[in-house]
Amino acid sequence: MAAPTANAVTAGTGDPARTGGTRLSARLPRLVLYALLGAFCLYYLLPLYVMVVNSFKPLEEITSGGMMALPGSWTGAPWRTAWSEAQIGVQPTGLRPYFLNSLLMVVPAVTIATLLGALNGYVLTKWRFRGATVLFGLILFGCFIPFQIVLIPMARTLGFIGAAGTVRGLVFVHVVYGISFATLYFRNYYAAFPTELIRAAQIDGAGFFQIFFRILLPSSGPIAVVCVIWLFTNIWNDFLFGASFADYDSQPMTVALNNLVQSSTGVKEYNVHFAGAIMAALPTLLVYIVAGRFFVRGLMSGSVKG
């Protein structure tokens, strides 16, 4: 007798008055539901569609009102132009060098911030001391500050340490402001890690770093992935720091793309812009598609405090 009731509730079908299945779907025809969901899929996919199809069109097809249509004649020229020919800085180099800049910036910044965050999380949860929570709160606030508040002094500091206008300088900036998030992730993860394990290791004679490297770190895979993805996405997508602290040689991809699109000289090559936009989006999009589960978890724990 129990089974049919449970089925009605989970499947949301059948006569609601008799079975008690009253989830929305019981009243709203499934067709309408799927139509609505489908319509929103179109809404979210539309810009991506526009970017992709128009990046393969000759310019005239776009300017003649054919933005929504599939390419009449497919061409890879906009991609080639965007990647290696478009005039962005002084030289017509395309986006390639800036893509490289972004890579050189994002890899070390993510690595360093993640490692520091892991160590911080370990200390804050397993070697608690008076004021640890307050300290964590102070670190956490760093996740939320509007970065405008640090632009002026950071520009001076980078000049002072000779890192102004370099990729090195950007790495430093991103490490500093990435630590907060990395610490948040690892702290919340390690808080749920059984303290008895740490105690057992202490009795076994393991020291501070032995416990970290032999016990904690080998079990940190999931949160490390979350943290790396989050930092990667954030740093790759950053525009403010890149625009403020980089010069022509060290600009990251986002800044270069914006320059490409905003440049007011000559004809607007929309197809090249779209190709460039996809290039800038591809790494993070790829990460999202490959490891979406971890990406979502990162988003969540960044907002809903574990």
């Binding site: 059984p194 008895e196 394990l197 105690r199 057992a200 009795i203 004679g205 032995q210 032999r214 079990s219």
Partner: protein, 370 residues
Amino acid sequence: MGFLDIDRVTKSFGAVKVLNETDISVEKGEFLVLVGPSGCGKSTLLNMIAGLESVTAGEIRIDGARMNDVRPAERNIAMVFQSYALYPNMTVRGNISFGMEMHKIPKAEREEKIAQVAELLQITNLLDRKPGQLSGGQRQRVAMGRALTRDPDVFLFDEPLSNLDAKLRVDMRTEIKKLHQKLGTTIVYVTHDQIEALTLSTRIAVMYAGDVQQIGTPQQIYDDPANMFVAGFMGSPAMNLLPATVARAEGGPAVRLDLAGGEAVTLPFPRATGLDAREGEAIVLGIRPEAMTDPEGADRDSGALHRVDLPVDVVEPAGSDTYVTVSLGGKDAIGRFRAHTAAESGARAPFVFDMEKAVAFDPDTERRIA
């Protein structure tokens, strides 16, 4: 001085005192169980013995040496945790070997030790598995194996059986007892389960609210509880604690208990010779369910059996026994009858009180007075 000395040990967290000037002395080879409800301070005390928590005041000594500032790894103790605390990323072998690695014991010696312990605990076939692939009972064995490799001076157990299901708990209890008999190591064992305490220990310390209420052999604790807390905590169903009045009967001391509906019964209480001066005063009579039985189930050797017919409120068959509830002194009192009793709720049934097994408490101080 014992082998393990807890000497006026106090623990406070800020203004909160969780353990008051506690004295316990454990002899070599003893199996001491710390038992009490959660929050009584027993786990804190165990953690202090392990060195996982600092001692606020007082001293802990093992074999005469002061341990207060010695790190856990250097105390030569071993500990089995409630959650087993097996390192999830290592195999069973890795788990058992880790502590020896940390103490820089050569590989050959480690291997030998692992084989020996695995043999003892019958986990040789599990050595290459990860903890996640083990059942609760198997994890428990591995956790003990890890502790055993250390040849510790003192073995510490922190509620090691509480995560197991009822049947497995009984089996593991027996195994721990066997292990103790075989190895003869000193053990301090924390539990909130009074049956575990009674079955395993050579001595029990009953704790409550940061104080040791009573320390003694299981028999002493069970038969002569020092106060009403110990009386109520140890034993299942709990000892009946019934408001009564000191009286005289048959030329000796006795207690009077009110029944429902204005009646009263008076039971001779030969043990209570010390209560003569209190005649007419209120006391609390403590009597265990097995000392309130049907006539056929009574202990024939007792010299103080008294039969009374009482109106039965509830009859609860529990397999091997039947529990019969009556109202005595305004409280529900449970008697343990044999399985096939004729007692029926609503009717009167004959009860035999074994007053040699009864105790009395002062209602104000809650201490035992007879």
